[in-house]
Symmetry: C2
Subunit: 196 residues, 2 copies
Amino acid sequence: MEAREKILDAAVRVFSEAGSRGATTRRIAEVAGVNEVTLFRQFGCKERLLREALFRVSERPSFGSLPAEPGDAEAELVIWASGHLRELYAASSWIRRSIGEFEENPEVSASSCSGPALVARELRSYLDRLQEQGTIAADADTGAAAAMLMGAILADAIGRDVMPDRYPFSVDEAAERYVRLFFRGISARADLSFRD
Amino acid sequence: MEAREKILDAAVRVFSEAGSRGATTRRIAEVAGVNEVTLFRQFGCKERLLREALFRVSERPSFGSLPAEPGDAEAELVIWASGHLRELYAASSWIRRSIGEFEENPEVSASSCSGPALVARELRSYLDRLQEQGTIAADADTGAAAAMLMGAILADAIGRDVMPDRYPFSVDEAAERYVRLFFRGISARADLSFRD
DNA sequence: GGATCATGCAAGCAAACACTTGCACCTACG
DNA sequence: CGTAGGTGCAAGTGTTTGCTTGCATGATCC
């Protein structure tokens, strides 16, 4: 019964490199070290195999989470963001592929975002708590801020390899820099700017 | 000589929908309303056709730019950012595909980012000018700020269709919200936060 | 020991693929 | 008028793709 696992792992690897069209059953079987026929006997057809493989990836648990009750908000956000960025960066080739196949296969792309969607909701509720606490400005645009921070992290994860000159700092310090700006953006009152 | 143009346009459309592997010569010819043989007589092989078609897209001029000498910085940034976001959003399916094929074809993906790369450099020099002017904080992290704003815009453009619930505001107001947060982030001095 | 079941191997099938050839057509230009 | 060049059409090439079949092998369980 271990053939199934080997095939699923190989399917994810080959899909990341070549996409669903390029992930041929022969190549998946070769990478898995398994006969091609076994693949069809286990999964019936290529489509079911890919669906199961990609579903498994999107279901793997995400690491780290924000504390329910905020303490040192900026420090907690830095830890959380750098963990999230590292996670996305490690899976960047798979993420790029999933995004790229959205036109062809919207469900797969969408399901691959179920993890990040949970993370986004977590961030939003954390920000709301901060607002209740009075830690950040009452008029802060938390919805846009959450989208902006998560967008910046996602773009960093998938864009750093593609456009290296756009990121004049390492992955390790990226999250801290983003969070610092993010935190200034939601902390400052509208009437309290540098110019005053 | 108009067959060439029709084929190139069709190639871009089909590539956006199906990727380079899915963009078959038959389908491109069909969409172009041209015989498949004409395609080979004009471009020799599929690879050269796709290369020329994708190069043409990445070479089309970008609209709008930041003024050389900043006036009302926040307003200028809003105009610029919303124009940039609209532009990316209009090309989102093509961008997603190009990103998705980075593993397979790094040069194409990279060349498709030559436009955004110019835009990024423009933003950076604009921010440096603002810093010289004293409009924004002298210790502001302009490199990270530029990456963050452009990343947020890119992620919005390619992610809004994929994860609609992550963006609780319309495309039209997105840029303004991002820029406002961005501007607060780089305007506020480190010692001048909401808590003081 | 015998039955069951997952697997490997060799071979093959029909479809789709990139690409070619030969010929007829039409338009433009001298 | 005649020639040259771009195009359409029909047919076909060899390769790759998803998927199937038949049979041998090895482990597992009763």
